[in-house]
Amino acid sequence: MEPFVTPAAVDTKLRVEHVNIVFDRDGKSTPVLNDISLEVGDGEFVCLLGPSGCGKSTLLSTMAGFLSPTSGEIKIDGEAVRGPDPRRIFVFQERGVFPWLTVEGNIGFGLFKLPRAERERRIAYYVKMVGLEGFERTYPPELSGGMKQRLEVARALAVNPDMLFLDEPFGALDSITRLIMRGELLRIWEAERKTVIFVTHDIDEAVQLADRVVVMSARPATIQQIVNIDIPHPRDISSPRYLELRDGIFKQIGLAHKL
């Protein structure tokens, strides 16, 4: 088991510096992100947690280079982010797989610069890693939601990025599949040690997965608190420490523990 790494012990991968985002639409301006500053270490698993509509996806898209901040700056490896980049892949909630390509075709989508043999080797490797053997020639409409989600993760991993952005990747799955997928994501993360930024509105999910949980307020989002989850994997979700951390976040968000 890997020991827990504190962000201080590793290099900074991502630096978000005083980012503000204001959307202008129909003459109405909506501030969505309010002075967000954050540092993420190399190989760290960070969850962005907040209520729906608070601006999590907006922050993640900005980190990935799909949006520019209204003010402030985002730096990765010390360089300002200017646009999307194959070194950092954004994983959309299973909607991002291309329905006109087979499982193989999807996983190989980003490998167009590689020679054929190497491409095929990588495709086979990642098909196996996400457990899609036997479905290589299958088209996504014939796959289940969980399989499509794994396919999208495999396509992202295949280009060997050093960061993954995951926007509520398991939100559309049933609760059993979701639990399985969390386990698989952790297994992959432990094997490949990518820096992962994972957006969720599910407190349990955040505490089960992350090294650190960034708790965001309602819109315009500010960072309320950053919680270190100092429990090694695999995590016992009935241990006192787990419950203590989870309940602490519940309180922070202002939710009573009882319904």
């Binding site: 999307p84 194959p86 954004f90 291309f98 989508f109 479905f135 088209y139 409409p141 939601g145 280009v159």
Partner: protein
């Protein structure tokens, strides 16, 4: 291997797709038109027992037989000749074959349709994709398209004759006009309804503009384009008949109008109509086979 949650997730997707379809009349009709083709694909599936296929074919054939018999009996019991009987129509077709006209007229009509249609496809599809890609260009083009759209291609007949005289060129021009706008609109709508996430994924993996068009935009629009191509081919076949009645002196449309003018040969008139119907059906079957290509089929495959 299907897991729970699969059905629910995909239903949502289907509804979303249909909601997009509903935005536009053309695509809405095509979505409706797609239902029978879906069942066709299913039933004619190679791994079904062939006896079943036989029954599927037998039923419409038997029904057509019944209709023809009723037609034959009803007409032969009347003294007034409202319509030629099926037997007379077959005689008419035999007549055409004897005079070497059948093949000549069919080829003439198909020749015009091919030129008008192919020209329209080659021009309208790339133009439509380009217009759909840019919101500003679309805004500039849209009013013109909307004004031209309700004008029947037949209203252009006098102008077509003025420009091209009586002949093939006028007919080809009319077919081109009839196909161009529907194809243009299909292509525009197809591009605009591409989910933004596909484009984002393409950019994320570092695709340059050309690759983005070729590897994302093009495959994403193909299913909708096929529907448009199919509807438009039907339009082309409608327009050629009308154009041939006025602007040329060969082809199936000409056959119909000429058979009447030159001696009330109604057996030939109906023979022409039957041929138009059969060839139209064959054209549709031909273009429908595109829908069966696996990588094109994704937007129909969630039923």
């Amino acid at each position: 291997m299907k897991q729970a949650g699969f059905a629910a997730g995909d239903k949502v997707h289907t509804y979303k797709y249909l909601a997009i379809c509903g935005k536009d009349y053309l695509r809405y009709t095509s979505a409706l038109l797609n239902r029978p083709s879906l069942t066709n694909i299913k039933i004619l599936d190679a791994n079904r027992p062939s006896v079943l296929n036989l029954f599927v074919w037998l039923r419409p054939v038997a029904f057509i037989g019944v209709l023809l018999s009723v037609w034959q009996i009803a007409i032969s019991r009347h003294t007034v000749h409202l319509l030629p009987t099926p037997v007379e129509v077959v005689g008419g077709i035999a007549d055409l074959v004897q005079h070497g006209l059948l093949l000549k007229y069919v080829v003439a009509s198909l020749f015009r349709v091919t030129w008008g249609y192919v020209l329209a496809v080659v021009l309208a599809v790339p133009l439509g994709l380009a217009i759909g890609w840019s919101r500003r260009v679309e805004m500039a083009f849209n009013p013109v398209i909307q004004i031209l759209r309700p004008i029947s291609p037949l209203a252009w007949i006098p102008i077509a004759i003025l420009w091209f005289g009586v002949g093939d060129l006028a007919a080809v021009f009319l077919i081109f006009l009839g196909c161009f706008l529907p194809l243009l609109l299909t292509a525009i709508n197809a591009v605009q309804s591409i989910p933004a996430v596909y484009i984002d994924v393409g950019r994320n993996f570092g695709l340059r503009r050309v690759d983005l068009v070729y590897r994302v935009l093009y495959p994403a629009v193909v299913p909708q384009l096929i529907v448009g191509l199919r509807i438009t081919l039907g339009i082309a076949w409608l327009v050629v008949v009308a154009a041939e009645m006025i602007a040329v002196n060969s082809g199936l449309g000409f056959l119909i109008i000429d058979a009447r003018n030159a001696g009330n040969r109604y057996d030939l008139v109906v023979a022409g109509m039957v041929l138009i119907g059969i060839i139209g059906l064959l054209l549709d079957l031909g273009i429908r086979s595109l829908e069966r290509v696996k990588s094109f089929r994704w937007s129909y495959s969630e039923d």
